[in-house]
Subunit: 315 residues, 2 copies
């Protein structure tokens, strides 16, 4: 017996729009992904993008609620949904959903901390709700790390996000690779480097960051200097740079927050963080995948959107 669909969940961020069709037990039964991050929505027409991604499912199951999380709720998104102040958990988020113009879409607000060093997240709060729903033992008190364009180190207490820190690790790597001298290392190898050689360069970067108590600023240029002085293969310099940046994030985060209880996010990226953590003596940190749809389902259910549909279809 195939479970009946109960929700359309949209993970709508800067680079992609990931739509999931969820069953009434929260499991994903179908997905669609388009490269329509908020900066790349065709003609800037959010309503049209929304329609194209959800129309088929909504035609087949009329009345299905749609909930989105991520930058779609930012000032540069479809409609701006104000941040909730931390501490915030599923109750605070479910009670503050924004409504897109045609009223067929609810949008989860981001969370802001407003202390001496304010910080903001949009999308990660939903992943954290999903991670906690899947791993309730983490809800009491834990630190979760969400690697990414803007990595988040989130402190959770009694099911709510109390505080967090952002590291621009992923974006910093991307802009340095694509637009700085560090992305223009000459190829120095005769053939393609082995996986082991690339892993070794990554590890060198992590260890260099670990040995640099003042941070990454005095280290960044070593990704070039090592190449031009023949101490690092040009083909491996981006792996070394990735190790430097991830290693520096982990060095700072481990001092401030201690070892994370889990990594939440893309498996391949989380694996790099696990490898770097192991080099720093922190082993076996679990990885939680699929947290975004799980979080959207949890928030929608708390907001009464899943139950309402269930009643409608059983009527």
């Amino acid at each position: 017996v195939s479970p009946s669909p109960s929700l359309i969940a949209l993970d709508w961020g800067t680079t992609a729009l990931r739509a999931s069709l969820l069953a009434d037990d929260g499991l994903v039964v179908d997905t669609r992904t388009e490269p329509w991050g908020i900066m790349h929505v065709p003609h800037g027409d959010f309503a049209a993008a929304f329609e194209r991604v959800t129309a088929e499912w909504r035609r087949q199951w009329p009345g299905l609620a749609v909930v989105a999380a991520g930058m779609v709720g930012s000032a540069n998104g479809w409609i701006e949904v104000p941040y909730r102040a931390a501490p915030a958990g599923v109750d605070e988020l479910a009670s503050a959903l924004g409504i897109a113009p045609d009223a067929a879409l609810r949008i989860v607000p981001g969370i802001a901390t407003l202390g001496e060093q304010p910080d903001v997240m949009r999308g990660e709060e939903t992943q954290i709700v999903g991670a906690l729903a899947r791993n309730p033992r983490l809800a009491t008190r834990s630190v979760l790390v969400l690697p990414g364009t803007h990595s988040k180190w989130a402190r959770v207490s009694e099911g709510r996000i109390t505080d967090f820190s952002t590291y621009m690790t992923g974006e910093l790597f991307a802009v340095l690779r694509d637009h700085s001298i560090l992305g223009r290392a000459p190829a120095t190898s005769a053939g393609e480097l082995s996986r082991a050689a690339l892993d070794d360069a990554f590890a060198r970067g992590v260890r260099a960051a670990q040995r640099s108590p003042r941070g990454v600023a005095p280290l960044l240029f070593s990704a070039r200097a090592l190449v031009v002085t023949d101490r690092l293969a040009g083909d491996a310099s981006l792996q070394y740079l990735s190790g430097l940046l991830i290693g520096d994030e982990l060095r700072c985060g481990l001092i401030d927050d201690g070892p994370p209880a889990a990594l939440v996010g893309d498996a391949a990226l989380c694996d790099r963080y696990r490898a770097a953590l192991a080099l720093l003596g922190v082993h076996d940190v679990p990885v939680i995948e699929g947290a975004a749809p799980a979080g959207l389902w949890t928030i929608a259910r708390r907001a009464g959107l899943v139950a309402a549909v269930g009643q409608a279809s059983s009527a």
Copy 2:
């Protein structure tokens, strides 16, 4: 009596080609600047660019030597001139000039340090030679800071560069401004911000960096978070970011090297460093301008290139 020209000096770096005509006392009597940095030489034709910039002077004063410093001597330049190993000063540089294909141009080598954390410079060694020639008291023992795309903190002893560190401060600022979310802050002011408001944002960035012992990684995203939480005007966020990055460089450099004896380079950029240094309690650091042509003249004279021309013109 107008002094007779004795040398054409080229400061040929990544972003520009600055040609100076020098008198026999080393003073600049004429200049030409083209946006022909080594990445932007028209059609990649170095010989043609060289010809266009120097032809008129060379026609008027045949036999005038031409000496260049900077990235023109790198693997991505005209011809690659091997680095000299530190320690190196005017003697080591003058005895290792490279010769461009048509033999009308000598190129000063860069300097490399080859210790545990190797580092390289090309162009700055010539500015340092010029700074020391103009301020001989700095030659005995000093730390010179050369702000720029790749800032250098150079240690000088007995007239030679013994060691140095590179901070990618200028390039990091440029790529974050042009290609990251930090360059896309919404304009939050009704009108244009005052100079004082911009200076204040710069100072906030410097002080934030000063208070962050682990470095700039946990701080970068604050340049956005402060704006979206209405604690910083969007129009001032790049000034704040500039303060963060320069402040972090100075924080690290002051720990490693102590207060610099002088700043060498562009006056406007050096002024930003002076302002940041003052916020960190280091006052009245002198600025040395025009160091590149002075260094080229000093090296050329040591290599016998200026004397030779002098003899020719007096014959």
